[in-house]
């Protein structure tokens, strides 16, 4: 008896195109009919869609006022401040890509893609000058400059985090201005994508740590902490976001002394943050519950106290398990920023609506505006979900 050699036994050949088609699309007569019908419908829809986008639609409500969509009524003379912030963020994304790779690579490439898209924006608006286009390309190039710097070994992840934190503060000051040196631009004339991004990024950065603390609080052995965490989470989750926004912008100031006036943008951001934190807490709690009890035993047995057990053992594993739902939460938050329109903030969607209302000629062009805004939201949301898949792959979620 001889043993089988690799000559004797080979894995089966992958099926060819024809075989695949026959197996999956034309396996019997009714599948064949369905395939043909659906095929015709798809081709027709794609053809009609493309024809409408390039020849049928009138994009003038979008292309005539591109800056309004981007920054709202932010004074054109001060727009360099937003540009500087954007350049800083682009550069930092590049640095982070060099330091961390993975998710940051996906973010950086998405951002570069968006910037190039903005540089090539087909608009006749005189406001959208050649300088702005050149700037967009330079910002994209800054990402790659940042990447090559981030690759250097002396940039540690701790330094990068610190720079990010400082930059976010610098950007806020830069955008708002400060006494005497930079004219103050009140937040009520911020708008468009700028405002949407401030709400979304602010909400994400603030709600994540609060959510983690609430999740830990809810599982705390101290009854007071656990009660208040649960109560907060359950109350906030039982109220619609628009209600919380109304509360934070109209009712909350009534309880404050008259001389204390909190900025409208800050109030909306507080509402969004608290709302998102409650959902975040429940996502994180799901991850905490998935940690086997043996991990706690092992951590205690080697002498780790509660704090180290939580920070070094439990949270890293728990957060890793819930990356998909956390990113889902971030995407929901990003889209929910449109509700800030309800308390008078002119974010991207309400800029679109105000443009439609301002010009009677645009009355029949609602579809164009809303489709454009939907596409913008989709690009950002998809970048987030793409990045999350990258980070899952990098961390080996589902494997380790």
């Amino acid at each position: 008896m001889t043993t089988a050699t690799s000559e004797d036994i080979r894995p089966p050949e992958p099926p060819g195109l024809i075989a695949w088609l026959r197996k999956n699309l034309f396996s019997n007569w009714y599948n064949s009919i369905l395939t043909v019908i659906v095929g015709v419908l798809v081709v027709w829809a794609v053809y009609a869609g493309i024809r409408w986008v390039f020849f049928g639609a009138d994009w003038s409500p979008v292309t005539s006022r591109p800056l309004l969509y981007m920054v709202g009524q932010y004074p054109v003379g001060q727009i360099w401040r937003i540009g500087l912030s954007l350049a800083l963020v682009s550069f930092l994304f590049g640095v982070s890509w060099g330091v961390w790779g993975g998710m940051m690579r996906a973010f950086s490439l998405s951002l570069a893609f968006i910037l190039v898209l903005l540089a090539l924006l087909p608009t006749e608006s005189a406001q959208y000058t050649m300088e702005i286009r050149v700037f967009m390309v330079s910002a994209a190039l800054l990402i790659f400059l940042g990447y090559s710097i981030g690759k250097q070994s002396w940039i540690s992840s701790r330094i990068t985090l610190l720079i990010w934190l400082l930059s976010l503060i610098v950007i806020l000051v830069l955008l708002r201005g400060f006494g005497g040196v930079l004219p103050v631009i009140p937040t009520n004339i911020w708008g468009g994508l700028l405002l949407t991004m401030v709400l979304a990024i602010g909400g994400i950065v603030l709600s994540f740590p609060i959510g983690v603390l609430l999740a830990l609080g809810r599982r705390s052995k101290l009854p007071v902490i656990s009660f208040f965490s649960s109560a907060f989470i359950e109350i906030v989750r039982g109220v619609p976001l628009i209600g919380i926004l109304f509360m934070s912008s109209i009712i909350f100031p009534l309880f404050l002394p008259a001389e204390v006036r909190i900025d409208r943008l800050v109030r909306a951001l507080m509402g969004i943050t608290l709302f998102s934190a409650a959902y975040m807490a429940e996502n994180v709690r799901g991850g905490l519950q998935a940690i086997p009890l043996g991990q706690f035993d092992a951590a205690r047995a080697i002498g780790l106290n509660n704090y180290y057990t939580t920070v070094l053992i439990v949270l890293p594993q728990a957060l890793r398990k819930v990356i998909p739902s956390i990113v889902g939460q971030f995407i929901a938050l990003f889209k929910d920023t449109t509700l800030a329109a309800g308390v008078g903030l002119l974010e991207l969607l309400s800029v679109g609506q105000s443009i439609l209302q301002a010009n009677p000629n645009f009355f029949s062009l609602q579809m164009e505006v809303y489709i454009f805004i939907a596409a913008v939201f989709w690009v950002f949301s998809y970048s987030l979900s793409f990045a999350s898949r990258r980070v899952e792959a990098a961390l080996g979620v589902g494997k380790r």
Partner: protein, 258 residues
């Protein structure tokens, strides 16, 4: 004055590493430990065996306070276990524990698993902790796996990493809770070899196991647990050669016949 009895016993048992006196534990209404008393001297290797549900794992877990005992007294290296968290943490630093299901930290590499507690609890520099960790990996025979993640190792290799992780804190006592029960037969030997080497090096060890070959080879004394009590204790010669209790005989015949 109330602390005096504890102090007296601490002096009496100066050379005893583990002292348990009349230890009781309830899970709700279930009486899991019904008055366990034993002493383990420095350098002694003690094996605990018995049917499942007999309280042997519960007992070993009370020794580093993974379970709280509700009556009786436990003194580890002269420190009495009470609610005082400082004492509990000192005792945990001095006792290493190895679990049936390894319980390695899956998000950390092998070397990070081992250096974690020395760096954060003992406050060693990273470099020193890594040197010690590599020595320990040499000792358990898998230095080449240092940069891998636990999921990439076999069960036997994982358990040897778990032993190295426990040893990294330089404990005076090692507790083993059925360390080979979750392993495939061909991997049991590699773990037992490491444990035997550890026993010969003079480590004080308390081992819950059904590996009677291991018990015969290195145990100084054996305790047979059943229904939360110590039914019988003695040297391996006494237990294997001439068990006094009928329950011990029955249990030994059941686990030794195949």
């Amino acid at each position: 004055m109330s602390s005096q009895p504890g102090q007296v016993s601490e002096q009496k048992s100066a050379e005893a590493m583990i002292v348990a006196r009349d230890v009781h534990k309830w899970f709700g209404q279930f009486h899991a430990l019904k008055g366990i008393s034993m002493q383990v001297k420095k350098g002694e290797v003690v094996v605990i065996f018995g049917p499942s549900g007999s309280g042997k794992s519960t007992f070993i877990r009370t020794l580093n306070r993974l379970e709280e005992h509700q009556r009786g007294q436990i003194i580890i290296d002269g420190i009495e276990l009470t609610h005082d968290i400082k004492k509990i943490e000192r005792i945990r630093m001095e006792t290493g524990m190895v679990f049936q299901s390894f319980n390695l930290f899956p998000h950390l590499t092998v070397i990070q698993n081992i250096t974690l507690a020395p760096i954060w609890v003992r406050k060693w520099r990273k470099q020193k902790a890594e040197e010690v960790a590599m020595e320990l990996l040499e000792r358990v025979g898998i230095p080449e796996q240092a940069e891998k993640f636990p999921a990439e190792l076999s069960g036997g290799q994982q358990q040897r990493v778990a032993i190295a992780r426990a040893l990294a804190m330089q404990p005076k006592i090692m507790l083993f809770d059925e360390p080979t029960s979750a392993l495939d037969p061909e991997m049991i030997k590699e773990v037992l070899d490491v444990m035997e080497e550890l026993a010969h090096s003079g480590m004080t060890m308390l081992v819950v196991t059904h590996e009677m070959g291991f018990a015969r080879a290195v145990a100084k004394r054996m305790f047979f647990f059943d229904e939360g009590m110590i039914v019988e204790s003695g040297t391996p010669q006494e237990i294997f050669g001439n068990p006094r209790e009928a329950r011990t005989k029955l249990f030994l015949s059941q686990i030794l016949t195949h």
